[in-house]
């Protein structure tokens, strides 16, 4: 580690500088990956393939946006996969009876997972359960709810109106990509242009200081988990729409990719530092590398190892930067 320049007033400038370096560094990594891949595989840099990549990252992207908020408060949410399933099966069951009730299905699904998010939020604040444990518990409880609701069997989705969400296009752009973009815009606005957003950073940066300065820490955290839950619900509905099936076992393992994207994007697991742009770049890096490896026919087993290594690498770098 270098030297004596660690006087306190300079700390915030250092942090800003290293955040910037990290942000641009990441974009460079993304661009480099794109360039390398377009040389290795001539299938990569086509409109068709790039749209595929965007569509394939949209669901994880929406999850990562929500997860960013959670991690910024120094929390974590392992239950999002199960929340996706709850939302998916509720929405699927609604359109099974009434193929045009898409809006109702959306509202019901998102509300259900939002409520469950609120429960986790309450558990990890008022009941003082560590977020890791609280969301681990919710992960299994919510999965159980989805299984009971459906008796363990998937619900086929015939409604073409509903399927449009995951399978349709607006011009050349897949609908999930549009939804992902909208979600990113809205949540970024909340994070950067509202008081609530600043409170999120404050709570994550130094919870005691935030509390002392009058911020209602518990309320902020609970709302963050509610928003995250709702976004998981939206992602779950998009997935169900894409595969035409509300499956109680959908979303298994999705929390890992979401957390990976956030961490690679430079958000610190210790809370208080990170950007939405970083998360988006993280999402894209994972998506581009996944896509590239697929085009090169690398087995999915190897892909998992590579992804794990990238996450580990990103976390290590994050810790070293934080200590500097």
């Amino acid at each position: 580690m270098s030297n004596g320049d660690s006087a306190k007033p300079k700390l915030s400038m250092n942090a800003a500088a290293s955040d910037m370096m990290r942000r641009y560094g990441l974009i460079l990594v993304l661009l480099l990956s794109v360039v390398i891949l377009s040389f290795i595989s001539d299938a990569f840099l086509t409109v068709n393939n790039l749209m595929n990549v965007l569509r394939q990252v949209s669901i994880n992207g929406i999850l990562a946006v929500g997860m960013t908020l959670v991690i910024l408060t120094a929390g974590i949410d392992l239950s999002i996969g199960s929340l996706m399933a709850v939302s998916a099966v509720i929405a699927a069951s609604i359109v099974a009876g009434n193929p045009d009730a898409v809006f109702l299905a959306l509202v019901a699904g998102i509300a259900a997972s939002g409520v469950l998010g609120g429960v986790t939020g309450t558990m990890s604040t008022k009941l003082n359960v560590a977020p890791f444990i609280a969301t681990l518990a919710m992960m299994t409880i919510a999965r159980g709810i989805a299984l009971i609701y459906t008796n363990g069997r998937p619900i086929t989705i015939d409604s073409s109106a509903f399927r449009y969400l995951g399978q349709g296009y607006i011009g050349p752009v897949p609908v999930p990509v549009v939804i992902f973009a909208l979600v990113t815009a809205i949540v970024s606005f909340i994070l950067y242009k509202t008081k609530f957003g600043r409170y999120i950073y404050a709570v994550g940066g130094n919870e005691n200081a935030a509390n002392v300065s009058g911020i209602r820490v518990h309320r902020v955290k609970i709302w963050v988990y509610i928003i995250n839950g709702a976004l998981s619900g939206l992602a779950g509905i998009l997935l169900a729409s894409r595969i035409s099936s509300g499956q109680p076992n959908s979303g298994l393992g999705y929390e890992l990719d979401a957390i990976a994207a956030v961490v690679i994007g430079g958000t610190s697991l210790f809370g208080g530092r990170g950007t939405m742009l970083g998360t988006i770049v993280g999402v894209l890096i994972i998506g581009v590398i996944n896509n590239g490896l697929n085009l090169l026919n690398v087995s999915s087993y190897w892909q998992q190892i590579i992804k794990g290594l990238i996450i580990a690498g990103a976390v290590i770098l994050d810790q070293r930067a934080k200590r500097g």
């Binding site: 270098s2 500088a17 490896l293 026919n297």
Partner: protein, 342 residues
């Protein structure tokens, strides 16, 4: 300030990512299913070219590239299917790109997108889900790529050719075998699969047509579902042996259930009872060879795999086929079991 460290940091990331991508490009062969004999030799081939990691059995450049998107290679049946496809592909000097969806619809959809991006010459789709895999069919046809569906089919019927079996045929063959064993006369008990499952319906219909409708002296004295399970079948059979001592034969809609029934029958010393199953799983084939199980009906997955590749190549070359290329089941008795079970 912290700049030096930060520059080093993203340089490290850059290097790491580049390394991994290069590694991946070289290691691209790891993704292929085992090709007949050419596995080791195939590595040094066109590596960084636009092919990216290909392994064909011979040293000539493969004529065509066929992508296959399958259910889950963890199922014995699917594994056997892919192996036979690879054999045929090697024989015809065609490159086979195998995608294992691990039974997940989303994976299959992504993998099909992938194959389309790679501009393969034909696609063989082993659909994970009747409804869920249908969007893949749309995209494949929109891209103008010949499509063969193998084993399972989709709600969207725009595929060019379906290679598989006629589900009713296995029931019919079972009926014919029983008619022969019983000499046209006797009492039969039926073990059914999960009620409502397509195989339960079609195999039941086939059996009805070929046995009970044709031979009025063969009576169905009872039937019950054992949900495709060996242990359920065993307990139901034990029950039956008490209630219906006049049973002459037990027909089971799949081999797992037949094996369960067989165990119960042997334990009760009723070796006079004829037991017949469907599928041709190794356990059942062994039991037929040993003279315990009277017969089974083999689903010829090897032939289906080969036919799928043949048809795919044929479509690329402009040939036409029937919409459904059905491969026959094979009735297996002691007389011919050695041909199919080593």
């Amino acid at each position: 300030m912290g700049n030096m460290k930060n520059i080093r940091m993203w340089k490290l990331l850059l290097v790491a990512v580049s390394l991994m991508l290069v590694l991946a490009a070289c290691g691209g062969n790891g993704g292929k299913s085992n090709s007949g004999g050419g596995n080791g030799g195939g590595n040094s081939q066109s590596d960084s070219g636009s092919n990216g990691g290909s392994s064909s059995g011979g040293d000539a450049k493969p004529k065509y590239r066929i992508g296959t998107a399958t259910q889950g290679l963890s199922h014995e049946f699917i594994k056997a299917l892919v192996e036979s496809m690879q054999e045929k592909a090697d024989e015809l000097n065609v490159e086979l790109i195998v995608m294992d969806s691990q039974d997940q619809i989303e994976n299959q959809l992504n993998q099909v997108d992938n194959l389309i991006s790679q501009k393969v010459d034909a696609i063989i789709l082993n659909a994970v889900d009747f409804v869920g895999s249908s969007p893949a069919v749309e995209r494949i046809k929109a891209a103008g790529i010949p499509l063969v569906e193998a084993i399972t089919f989709t709600q969207n019927e725009d595929y060019d050719v379906f290679v598989g079996t006629d589900p009713e045929q296995s029931g019919i063959m079972m009926g014919e075998l029983l008619a022969e064993f019983l000499d046209g006369k006797g009492n039969v008990a039926l073990l059914q699969g999960q009620i409502g499952h397509s195989a339960e319906i079609t195999r039941g219909a086939g059996l009805q047509k070929a046995l009970f409708d044709k031979y009025p002296d063969v009576k169905l004295i009872t039937q019950q579902t054992a949900n495709w399970n060996r242990d359920e079948a065993m307990s139901i059979t034990e029950d039956w042996l008490q209630r219906f001592p006049e049973i002459n034969a037990i027909a089971a809609q799949n081999d797992e259930m037949a094996m369960g029934a067989l165990q119960a029958v042997e334990a009760a010393g009723r070796t006079d009872i004829i037991v017949v199953g469907i599928d041709g799983i190794p356990d059942a084939m062994k039991a037929v060879k040993e003279g315990r199980l009277a017969a089974t009906v083999l689903d010829n997955v090897t032939e289906e795999g080969k036919r799928a590749v043949e048809v795919a190549v044929g479509l690329i070359e402009g040939k036409t086929f029937e919409k459904k290329e059905l491969v026959d089941y094979i009735p297996i008795t002691k007389d011919n079991v050695d041909q199919y079970y080593k």
